[in-house]
């Protein structure tokens, strides 16, 4: 799946063959699938475009069992070497708006070198620091 994904062209918000398979596998196998995905993501030979696409779709998986594990992957994504992956993790966490990720966002703010992404992280921090009422609930 990862190998064939290298040939795909991804458009933000638009499902691809890869993203459909990714969501389906996690919904079917839960944490086991996320664990396999995490190993692929951590592999330095994984294409950063594919790695970013992985993270972008994690919020849209309907599988409550794997929610915390997916959140862990997104937190780790904030510290990734590749900017595309950090960008994807930031936007996925911005969708989820889970206050438990505030510490990871603050750490990422301390390390981020890209001005535009830093602005997004600061916006996210401000959102996460707000009271929960009125915010879009996390999509488990």
């Amino acid at each position: 799946m990862i190998r064939t994904a290298r040939e795909e062209r991804f458009e933000i918000g638009v499902a691809s063959v890869f993203s459909r398979n990714l969501v389906a596998i996690i919904e079917a196998y839960g944490n086991a699938a996320v664990s396999a995905l995490e190993a692929v993501r951590a592999n330095p030979h994984t294409n950063s475009d594919v790695g970013a696409e992985c993270l972008r779709w994690l919020p849209f998986v309907r599988n409550p069992e794997s929610y915390k594990y997916r959140l862990l992957m997104l937190r780790a994504g904030l510290m990734a070497k590749e900017i595309q992956v950090r960008d994807a993790a930031t936007m996925a966490l911005a969708y989820l708006q889970d206050p438990s990720t505030l510490d990871a966002v603050e750490l990422a703010i301390d390390r981020e070198t890209c001005r535009e992404l830093l602005d997004d992280l600061k916006d996210l921090r401000a959102t996460l620091a707000q009271p929960v009422r009125g915010r879009i609930p996390p999509a488990h």
Partner: protein, 171 residues
């Protein structure tokens, strides 16, 4: 709505993936004046044409266009875009054709255009221009809120929105 003079300038909107346009401050291996090669792939042409939307003025049309384009996607995630003034397109000798968009908003569809008969040099010129423009981003929460508001206002027909996006909006 009070518009500043710059908001009356006709422009074209192109959706992008902002992370492909980041420069050296985020991409350590990139030279300070250079651009990621992936930026070229972000301007995906078909039949030598590039899909854009015409923005007669920012105040009246921009929000509606962004919402309409976001409504043809599968999930309510962030939306990145760039605005290119019409004079620049003329200066690059790029032709513009009126073609109907495929969003669930008929008003937005009428504003769809194709930048046509693109050559390597014209596309390269466009990439250079876009790299220098501001890369705007609407965050996921705002995209979702705009979509819901557009449905409530009757600008978007919920039945025209694809099933997957509808499910995410109804959650």
């Amino acid at each position: 709505v009070q518009l500043s003079p710059s908001q009356f300038v006709a422009e074209f909107l192109r959706h992008i993936n902002r992370s492909k346009w980041y420069r050296h401050d985020g991409v350590a291996w990139l030279r300070r004046w250079d651009l990621q090669a992936d930026a070229l792939a972000d301007l995906y042409t078909k039949n030598n044409a590039l899909s854009v939307y015409y923005v007669p003025n920012r105040g009246m049309d921009l929000d509606r266009l962004i919402t309409a384009i976001a409504a043809r996607r599968d999930v309510p995630t962030h939306f990145d875009y760039v605005l290119i003034d019409a004079a620049t397109i003329t200066a690059l000798s790029i032709g513009v054709a009126v073609t109907l968009g495929n969003t669930p908003d008929a008003v937005a569809n009428a504003l769809h255009r194709d930048l046509i008969e693109l050559t390597r040099d014209k596309l390269s010129g466009l990439v250079s221009v876009i790299s220098l423009r501001e890369h705007h981003r609407v965050l996921p929460g705002e995209v979702k809120a705009r979509l819901l508001r557009a449905v409530a206002d009757g600008n978007l027909d919920m039945t025209e929105i694809n099933a997957q996006l509808r499910q995410h909006l109804e959650r």
